[in-house]
Symmetry: C2
Subunit: 499 residues, 2 copies
């Protein structure tokens, strides 16, 4: 390996340690932090973010990058080129952001999170408005610092999914909506009305041990990971210490279970990087859409399948004999795949879920374009909700305050969920063709064939390909809505008596 | 305030944020870390320790200190002088330690902790020998870097308790041993033999909620603190986010309870600093002996008193009706104050506890003087144990591997426990004289009079006084063995029928 590249990697690994610490601080903030310790935590994150930014924007890194960039292309292997290309991209962006700005934004994000928690507790969006305005403004400023020529929202989309923009996403979403709305209509018109609410009294300790069992069976490595509880489930930590969370409710057992499987999907991706690549772009996810394709594939294509439950149902019944005694197998499967309009995104089925995302994408776009103001966001939300979901949220907790994302200025993240659903369906088509025995192995509780295929097709590459390139490489097509629609029809029309 | 002092304080608070993060990383390591994530954590701690060292040894801090030091004494208030004096002391020490050395030692400490855990699991001291040798060597090197003229062990004692040294401690310990050994002999000769082992089947969840209740009643602020579980109880975090741990065993309920009270005592000290002083020497403990005086005072003088249990016993019986049904009040009080020779320090009663410390102090002294080699430490331990405690440990877990301290190179810490016991007894004498209703308030579950007195007499000063100076100020005498001996005789001779 070229000496300058070695030096660069050493520097990157050093900065990665600081990022890993920041990850742990954020995780701890959401899992452990005492209620009145938020200010101190915000100061810690601010101080370390400033230092991490300073270490990464050290001119030595710039010099190494320019030196490597000037060398002929054939000096490097494809993975090596990836490290140089992606680091250069991040570096050139980072040096445009003043260290004080980076710290200011991080602090605002931390304040934003706690303001969001308080606003939710009070069920009052207006408490969240001032900090959300600031977060939006800081996010626009960030885009302007880096490249004043591109749209601020496109900048944030590109941060999550390199190469995508609002225009591409809008086209995909228009196409998806066209097929999705009639499908939802058919399903809701069906006389079949399974209700998740028939599941009651699932003891939390038992839910927890079942979630641990499922996570382990799917391949989550607990020797380098944990499962904890937080308000909003998430996957955090770093590759060598991957931490997922879920939440428990005695009367909503499938929420904790599918949240766990979802976060396990994220974690399996991160745990799939080679340890020697930790801290370099080869040990990083290609983007959030592909990340979500992993979590959604495990949650939906796998976790809601008959094959999955053929293995897990007997164990589940053993754990919850009373709660399930009056529900037969077919009824249980129908509850797992119940489609009901729900005001809450994370409680929604995989069909209507995408409408929630289309709603948020539209609002983010308008926030950035200035056609909706933050103070009017509740109203805009409720209006769009009526339009897309035929629902008006009862209150802010069920509406505009339900998601954590904006509290941390994670604008441009939401589209990744539905893009991830599309990619998941595309991958699922290929996986089933490539491994004919896939679902038979699930029935035996063996998920390694799928995991190995994902490791080989997706995980091992880190950022070597970009989103569209990777999807193209594995599936032979760029991101597309058809496989998702086909998959949804195949799973739901038989249940809901559609033609 | 002088502008340079303001600038200095700002710098100190910045460095304190990094130290606070390191505290959280250490806490997380002992409470949460997945088993195979230790290497990553060690790298994080190494990277951040290097940075914190670099930030604190920044020449700007040196310049500010020299500038402030050159100004006439009357330019500053007593608290301001404390900040300058103590920071200057720390700074002059820190700049003598190469950053690479500091990082190397931190890494060895992290490796040491995990090697200790593994050696304990295998019950085999020999697995711990190589890293302990390295830790001892690094500790000697550290002393030599800072001041090659003083004894290395004195350097480490001074780090924990400024102004004390091995000679002062040895004199105190000789005096203590002279009075303690006959007292232990009397107690053990008594026909009264209470056994803690009559306590059985205390459900852990109930133990936990009782521990939380006691912590809260004593004044622990859970809005800025937590109670968790770890192998070895400790108090960590930082003043605005104070974290204590304990451990639970169904058949040793008093262990978890008194460990909790002990750590609460530490935490109350830290939670007693004024928030505006966080990050400066005014928001730091004077030393470990005074720190231990707080934990031991709450654990022993308070927690094992009749007054304390007059309030808590009915609640305890309510929580554990079955386990306590056949034990009457007097028998229970005797179990709480049972004196039995025990190979484990942390399981020992407060009388024989001090013999454990005298043992460790003697060994540390010999390790540093070179008259005992690390590889011979098990043998030396077992021999001293026989001499002082009339016990030969059954195995390494009950002997030389029982304590965490050496695994983190915390040499010179052990003496602080018994010095703390002495100071606790001295403070207790004064507190009872000053507040005649002290024990009556305990009987009513009100511990604020004692806490307020400690806040005023000890906590508020941070490092304004040094150990001997503070003890002198509050009790009118330097550290002394008599009040401890008097207290022990007063509490234990009536129980053990001595004259």
């Amino acid at each position: 390996m070229h000496l300058s590249l070695e030096k660069l990697i050493q520097r990157l690994k050093h900065v990665a340690q600081l990022d890993n610490i920041l990850n742990i601080l954020h995780w701890d903030e959401k899992v452990n932090l005492p209620p009145n310790s938020a200010t101190g935590r915000a100061e810690q994150i601010k101080a370390l973010t400033e230092i991490a930014h300073r270490e990464f924007t050290d001119p030595t890194i710039g010099e190494l990058l320019e030196e490597l960039n000037a060398l002929p292309d054939e000096s490097f292997s494809l993975p090596e080129k990836t490290i140089i290309r992606e680091t250069r991209r991040d570096y050139l962006r980072a040096i445009k952001l003043p260290a004080t700005f980076v710290a200011e934004k991080k602090t605002a994000e931390s304040i934003g999170y706690h303001a969001w928690v308080k606003a939710r507790e009070s069920n009052d969006f207006s408490l969240f408005v001032p900090i959300l305005e600031e977060l939006l403004d800081l996010s626009k400023q960030e885009a302007a610092f880096v490249d004043p020529r591109i749209q601020a929202y496109d900048y944030h989309i590109d941060l999550h999914d390199q190469g995508l923009d609002a225009k591409i996403i809008q086209q995909l979403f228009i196409e998806l909506k066209k097929d999705l709305l009639p499908l939802v209509k058919t399903i809701l018109a069906s006389s079949h009305k399974p209700r998740a609410s028939i599941l009651k009294n699932f003891p939390i300790e038992t839910q927890k041990s079942f979630a641990l069992l499922v996570a382990q069976k799917l391949g989550f490595d607990f020797s380098q990971g944990r499962l904890d509880v937080s308000v909003h489930p998430f996957c955090s930590g770093h590759s060598g210490d991957r931490r997922i969370t879920t939440r428990f409710n005695e009367n909503v057992p499938l929420d904790s279970l599918f949240s766990t499987i979802h976060e396990v999907g994220h974690a399996l991706y991160e745990q799939g990087f080679a340890p020697e690549n930790y801290g370099t772009p080869l040990g990083q996810a290609v983007g959030m859409a592909v990340h979500e394709s992993q979590s959604r594939l495990w949650e939906n294509q796998v976790g809601r399948s008959r094959a999955f439950w053929k293995f897990f149902e007997p164990l589940y019944r053993q754990q919850f004999p009373n709660a399930l005694s009056s529900i037969d197998s077919e009824a249980f499967y129908k509850v797992i795949n119940a489609v009901e309009l729900n005001p809450i995104r994370v409680d929604s089925d995989e069909v209507t879920y995408n409408l929630h995302i289309i709603l948020r994408f539209g609002l983010e776009k308008e926030l950035f374009e200035g056609t909706v103001a933050v103070k009017d966001l509740r109203e805009a939300w409720n209006q769009k909700s009526k339009e897309l979901l035929q629902l008006t949220p009862k209150n802010d907790k069920e509406g505009v305050l339900q998601d954590i994302h904006w509290s941390g200025a994670a604008f441009g993240y939401f589209p990744s969920y539905t893009l991830g659903n599309m990619i998941a369906a595309q991958l699922w088509e290929v996986a089933k063709k490539t491994i004919p025995s896939l679902e038979t192995s699930f029935e035996k509780g063996d998920f390694t064939p799928l995991l190995n295929w994902l490791r080989e097709s997706i995980h091992q590459f880190g950022k070597q390909y970009r989103t569209q390139g990777l999807v193209q490489k594995v599936t032979g097509s760029s991101i597309s809505t058809k496989p998702l629609i086909n998959y949804l029809k195949e799973r739901y029309l038989p249940l809901y008596g559609g033609k």
